[in-house]
């Protein structure tokens, strides 16, 4: 029996379409014909995991790709791991890096309607995030407006690859809409280097998937510094920002370096009223998977102390991706109170579950 008795909230589950045709009922022309003949058109990064991205051991018996059957997902993930709520983030975050902003926005809207109709009514444990494309932030804000009142839409999801650093003013309409509806905005990696995005590292294109995947944290660091310095959290004091799957071990470095620089350079960002790291602690949350694995777990515990992990970290499985984490196996060394917060309380509070 896998079940440990502890209730868990999983903040990053990747439900999948059976095929792009699932979106057809929710698309208007010309997008409907395009998707019918050639799929969603999401751009690729060109980086391939040679073993595939999806776990081989969780294909639904009903057919279709992993995590495309709501009932089997409940059976395979929620039940054995005691997951009370799963935040479904899908796998279409690449809409932000498409070249045609209308195309990206159309796919995002159709996906959101598909989620409301096909998934959210299926299981009381399912919650979803509203997919938007950042390419045209005004369209993104309108989409948030359109979906925000759905009782099971609990946040906004975007990829972490965009046409600019996420703190910059062109993206603020997204945050204005999200903050007004008290919906956290989450980003998720995987589209770095695709379509209209920048190269996946600040120094160019790595050669292989191993490097690309390791370097994804760079993109998170740049967005986080931007969000703080551009005053996003001063302008939208209610905004919560969720950094999914980007790692956490780099946070002490970033907070210390940013605070140190701020002391001498605060005159360039006079709108900041507090030390930069305080905005991070108050407005940003992070997810566990893929949890860092030093040979000596005490080293990770020390980092947890440095970043006050028990108040800013939330468990995520990343099911059904190969690099997923089991809630029964990771962070066993945490004290019970910290475990309760990271595996349950922090997400319950953030998503108002």
């Amino acid at each position: 029996m896998l079940n440990s008795g502890r209730m868990v909230i999983d903040v990053d589950v990747h439900n999948s379409l059976r095929s792009a045709r699932d979106l057809l009922p929710y698309l208007s022309e010309p997008w409907r014909s395009r998707v019918a003949s050639s799929g969603t058109g999401l751009p690729s990064t060109g980086y391939f995991n040679p073993h595939g991205v999806l776990r081989e051991d969780c294909k639904p018996p009903s057919g279709g790709p992993a995590a495309s059957d709501p009932d089997f997902l409940a059976e395979d993930l929620l039940k054995p791991y005691n997951i009370e709520y799963a935040i479904l983030n899908g796998d279409l975050m690449g809409v932000s890096t498409m070249h045609d902003p209308d195309h990206g926005a159309a796919i995002a809207s159709a996906y959101n309607d598909y989620m409301a109709n096909v998934w959210l009514s299926k299981n009381d444990a399912f919650r979803a995030t509203i997919l938007v494309s950042s390419h045209d932030p005004l369209l993104a804000a309108r989409e948030i407006e359109r979906m925000a009142d759905h009782p099971r839409m609990v946040g906004v999801i975007m990829g972490s690859a965009h046409r600019g650093l996420l703190g910059q003013r062109q993206f603020h309409p997204i945050y204005e809409a999200a903050a007004r509806h008290e919906l956290p905005v989450a980003i998720h990696p995987g589209t770095e280097g695709s379509g209209g995005a920048y190269p996946p590292t600040a120094s160019g294109y790595p050669t292989r998937y191993l490097e690309w995947h390791t370097d994804l944290s760079q993109s998170y660091m740049a967005h986080l510094v931007s969000l703080v310095c551009e005053g996003v959290f001063e302008r939208f004091p209610k905004l919560k920002f969720v950094m999914l799957e980007g790692g956490i071990a780099w946070l002490p470095h970033l907070m210390w370096r940013l605070d140190k620089n701020y002391k001498g350079l605060r005159s360039t960002v006079p709108w900041l009223k507090r030390m930069p790291s305080e905005y991070i602690r108050d407005h940003c949350l992070f997810s566990t998977q893929p949890i860092e694995e030093p040979d000596d777990p005490k080293q990770l515990l020390a980092i947890f102390d440095m970043i006050d992990a028990e108040n800013i970290l939330m468990f995520s499985s990343d099911y059904p991706h190969r690099d997923n984490d089991s809630p029964l196996e990771i962070l066993r060394w945490l004290k019970p109170e910290a475990k309760q917060k990271i595996f349950y309380d922090n997400a319950k509070k953030l998503y108002k579950l």
Binding site: N49, H51, R55, E56, D57, R322, D323, E329
Partner: protein, 117 residues
């Protein structure tokens, strides 16, 4: 040590494996070149069902930018994080101190038995 007979040798063709339950343990039984081996169906990393992973080969240690593929059919790759293990011994390829639990197998009169203490 008690032997648990789990299959006829002919039921596990060369290059394949089956997964059986022995005393509540899920165990993968492999036929590699006519020899039988058994591994606990649990990856030592995060508890994934290791024996549902593909039987595979891999790139052998080589010079920079050289690729030499080998060990075909000798390894299993975990269906989650992709760790590769030697089916014969359970040793991980990246570090032989990391091991999937393995069991002794013996074949008696065409029956495959796993020794589980």
């Amino acid at each position: 040590m008690p032997i648990n007979y789990v299959a006829n040798a002919g039921d596990i063709p060369e290059g394949t494996n089956i997964i059986v339950d022995v005393k509540g343990l899920s165990i993968g039984v492999y036929n590699i070149g006519g020899e039988f081996f058994a591994l606990l169906n649990r990856c030592p990393h995060e508890g994934a069902p290791l024996c549902k992973g593909k039987i595979c080969g891999t790139t052998l240690p080589s010079g920079v930018y050289q690729y030499e593929y080998g060990r075909v059919g000798e390894l299993v790759r975990c269906p989650w994080h992709g760790w590769e293990f030697e089916i014969r011994t359970g040793k991980a390829i990246f570090d032989e101190k990391v091991r999937a639990k393995s069991y002794k197998v013996q074949v008696d009169d065409g029956k495959v038995g796993i020794v589980v203490g």
